[in-house]
Symmetry: C2
Subunit: 115 residues, 2 copies
């Protein structure tokens, strides 16, 4: 493996598994490539929500719009250039707001083969 | 550990080790917190460069400006919202351009204790 660059236009988005919201994930580096982490982009239509127990260490950076993440401890809201870190086992409600959102994500280990 | 949010204003920047360029890193989650990855922000003044052998799997997302990464295989240049993935052992030249750059990074394992 070597240095790679990824842009949102490279991603093939698919609905985030196990839910019906208009929230999509597009992996660009993952278990198929032999490295330790999965890298991709997320796309959230406006006012969508997703309740999930995080299966991996999931780092999300907001590129456009805003994303809120709620747990039993409260809610954090991240805008462009801000990062949200979630840990294995966290039960979270992830929400987009009126403008939707674009995010980049890095998971360790690979989210698709972890659950 | 639980859900955390990080903004650039939270980072305490220090010069990237082993070099004299105006390139700074600010860890916000790392080996002190017990998780598997280091998360932080990078700040590049204009027209700086850094030659380094990558000790970890390093994912960089550009928040502002542009960053170029050159290896023996060529150069990739990433702008806002784009991601560069570097692997352990890659020998890279990282450069900023006329506007400098802000980046977010995720390393696995922790870069500070890996080299």
């Amino acid at each position: 493996m070597t240095v790679r660059k990824f842009a949102i236009a490279d991603a093939e988005f698919e609905r985030s598994p196990g839910q019906e919201a208009e929230i999509y994930a597009g992996n660009l580096l993952d278990e198929r490539h032999g490295g330790p982490v999965t890298i991709g982009f997320g796309r959230y239509e406006p006012n969508q929500s997703l309740e999930v127990t995080i299966a991996v260490h999931d780092t999300m950076i907001v590129i456009e719009g805003e994303v809120s993440v709620t747990t039993g401890d409260g809610t954090v809201t991240a805008g462009a250039g801000e990062i949200v870190s979630m840990q294995t086992g966290d039960k979270v409600l992830i929400r987009s707001h009126s403008k939707g959102a674009l995010t980049g994500y890095v998971t360790y280990p690979h989210w698709r083969t972890a659950s």
